[in-house]
Symmetry: C2
Subunit: 193 residues, 2 copies
DNA sequence: ATCAAGGATGTTATAATATAACATCACACT
DNA sequence: AGTGTGATGTTATATTATAACATCCTTGAT
């Protein structure tokens, strides 16, 4: 079993992922960075960050608001959006553009460009550094004479964990293919007409 | 002059870009693809496509609606969104996730993954095939055991044309740097603490 | 000790983006 | 004529995000 899970690239596999540790590392880093930068990680901002780190799924602002309200009943959208703005500015979370949602950044202490692997099935987001991709991207930019100020590489797909649990289901139901319910990203090509 | 403009990677440079030709090519391709695929490029869908191709800027749905209303006063959001859905499905336009906006696809006849260079200044979007980027990306996916169904690579920055026109302005105003008004995508790195 | 300045938050309202749900229409096939 | 399908019309509403202005709190200058 250990060998199996050790082989899994998916870092959130429940068998090897200690989420409490993961969260406390993220919060510690956040505290540290804010102190160093002389910015305030206020109770509201910290609470929102904690809510985001509740899972590795991308969360919607209004879902955060609903959960935030359990503690601060009078909270309004602006409360959440302001906290989100701050956290994004400080690189502590990412905005997932293709979902209008937010996810904790798991390497906020480093300068980095981001590759987000977004699972359509479980909605977890796996953030990867992907330096090779970024190097090639930079080449493209300079070829185009383009000065890039932000890069958001977001890929929608199915994570390994969900592929596997789907495989299990399929072995029971007789289904063989996950992709039947999904449209591949490009289904037409007339270039060889 | 010809040599100068010929050296410009920016394909929308007004000096070399015949937009009428560009649009009619796009519309012809769209018509052709729809016939081949047996789907209907209805008057509404065609009109919306034309409105989008009015420029190479990304357009908002409600801006399209406003312009559409000049011809069909009673039009409602659903009219536009339905047309947009169709055009996206057919690969005739792209949704720019980071802007909640839409832009014509300039190579809809080919299967392709997209690299969108989005100019913060003029809002034009330069779509590039970028096969190298995509190859490296695919490597990343397989390393992660991730099955990707869509890729949207969107980079925000300043296109060459705007850099140049800004340079001209700066030579008059004495400014030297475009980036002063812009936040680079990563301004902090504590990794060498 | 006041007072001004700046940052954070509270509060109300509204803007901007997008979809649901159901009715109707038009055309194609039988 | 009847039926099915895809497109559109129409109303309403959901979802996401920001504007604008008031208040409060800390800090530092006078």
């Amino acid at each position: 079993m250990t060998t199996l899970t050790a082989a899994l690239p998916n870092i959130f596999s429940t068998l090897e992922h200690d989420h409490k540790k993961c969260v406390s590392k993220a919060l510690d880093t956040a505290q540290h960075l804010c102190v160093v930068r002389g910015v305030q990680l206020t109770p509201i901002r910290l609470q929102v960050l904690e809510l985001i780190w509740d899972s590795h799924k991308a969360v919607k602002a209004y879902d955060l608001l609903d959960r935030f309200k359990l503690q601060q009943q009078a909270a309004k959208p602006a409360t959440i959006y302001r906290a989100l703005d701050f956290l994004i500015e400080q690189g502590l979370i990412h905005r997932v553009e293709s979902l209008n949602a937010f996810v904790g950044c798991n390497c906020s202490e480093h300068q980095h460009e981001l590759l987000l692997l977004i699972c359509k099935h479980c909605h977890e987001v796996d953030e990867r550094p992907a330096p090779k991709v970024m190097a090639v991207l930079s080449e493209e930019f300079s070829q185009a004479g383009f000065i890039a100020y932000s890069k958001a590489i977001e890929a929608q797909g199915i994570c390994l964990k969900c592929q596997q649990s789907q495989d299990e289901q399929n072995s029971l139901t007789g289904r063989t293919d996950l992709s039947v319910n999904l449209k591949p990203y490009s289904v037409f090509d007339l270039s060889q007409d």
